[in-house]
Amino acid sequence: MLGGMLTFFFLVIFGLPLAPSIILAILISTIVGITFERLAIRPLKNAKPIRLIIITIGASIFMRGAAMLIWGKDTHALPAFSGNDPLYIAQATILPQHLWIFAITILIIIASRLFFNHSIIGKAMRACAYNAQVASLVGIDVKIMVMLSFAVSAAIGSMAGIIIAPLTMTSYDVGIMLGLKGFCAVIIGGMSSGLGTVLGGLLLGLLEALGAGFISASYKDAIAFIILLLILFFRPEGLFKKKETERV
């Protein structure tokens, strides 16, 4: 939401070109993410995850409210990054924006893989996620890592909001349904596997479309959540994740 709205704001109100608007929007969303961590998460030392989740939900409601006050309730469309003329590829029509979404998603997945598997900072973040106390014993500043993880997720989140905004429009309250669907995709794919999540998303989209076709379009969203529940009941580790083989 923030990414899309901020981009729209810079683009239309300030009349900046698209690329700088996007960069500024991502930058500001990242700063908002970091500020949120400093003000709302860090003061709670050793809080349980459920409390942090509730605080996060609260903060997102607050930010939606603020966005509504600042920018109003109107829905805005971002222009597509490179025109709206559909492309015809082997008899299928596809919008250029779809290709942008696809390419940027792949890029983000590859970049995050490289970051978490090959850079020392990425590895340090994984170490913190696994065991923060021991991470501090090897000299990692856990607070910085937490802040960094908020920055990274805010940046990626705003990026996602921006690339889909030309298709879905953007307004003060987009993002909730998307967030929930994204959560479904993660659960279906199995946590902590970027590719699994993408496959999960793909599967979810297909099932939704099939369900909409065979049953009724008005059940489209319900189908997503029914699948989520089924997965959580019968295969909580996700469809694509190998069962953990861990020795203790």
């Binding site: 696994y130 065991n131 106390q133 021991v134 991470a135 501090s136 014993l137 090897v138 000299g139 990692i140």
Partner: protein, 258 residues
Amino acid sequence: MAIFISRKLKTMLKIKNINTYYGQVHALKNVSLHLTEGEIVTLIGANGAGKTTLLNSLSGIVPSRSGQILFNDTPINDLYAHQIVKMGISQVPEGRQVFKPLSVEDNLELGAYLYNRKRADKTETKKTGEMVYGLFPILKERRKQLAGTLSGGELQMLSIGRALMARPKLLLLDEPSMGLAPMVAQEIFQVIGNLSREKKTTILLVEQNARAALKLANRGYVLETGRLILEGTAASLLENKEVQRAYLGKDKKEIWER
């Protein structure tokens, strides 16, 4: 003719009257101890005596509420855990806590996290890595493997290796032999002895296996319910009746023999 070079050995660590609490629980009561450069000192005590708490107070994980900790004459009470590692104190935590989702190699790389900025440091890190692989050749064989797939002994070696990657001046070891087969435990003790002899690393060794620890150490302290009740040279503690009864299990044998 023998020439005696007298070099005054420095006190490296000085703990003065620290008190540590978990909420209301008073876990360390007026504990004072010191370590001289190059020494191996062992801390023995029963379950729940406060040994881990003492190491964690030193490492900044559970800061002490009062008292003073001096490391090479610098107070370190108020430093964060990661800053204490930077000062040169590394802990091998109890229970072989390595980063299981990461490879052996990555675990060691994270051990040298302090040194990820400067070029010169990195070549030194490489050397330290070779040294660690030299101490524990099995780790080199397993370096691409996820740490979660290692055996108990290998996990302990990795845990020690990871701490060594920070090139500590003072190494804190929390029950490194716990739950290991006697042969493996012995190998670990041997490595600790070598580190002290060859690398001149100062070592504070927490152990339940009092006999092995006292054989290796120069001096020892005995902790009982948060209080230090005894201290002395390792030899004198091995002879001490109280220690023999409570930690070396001599009396038991005599009773059984009677």
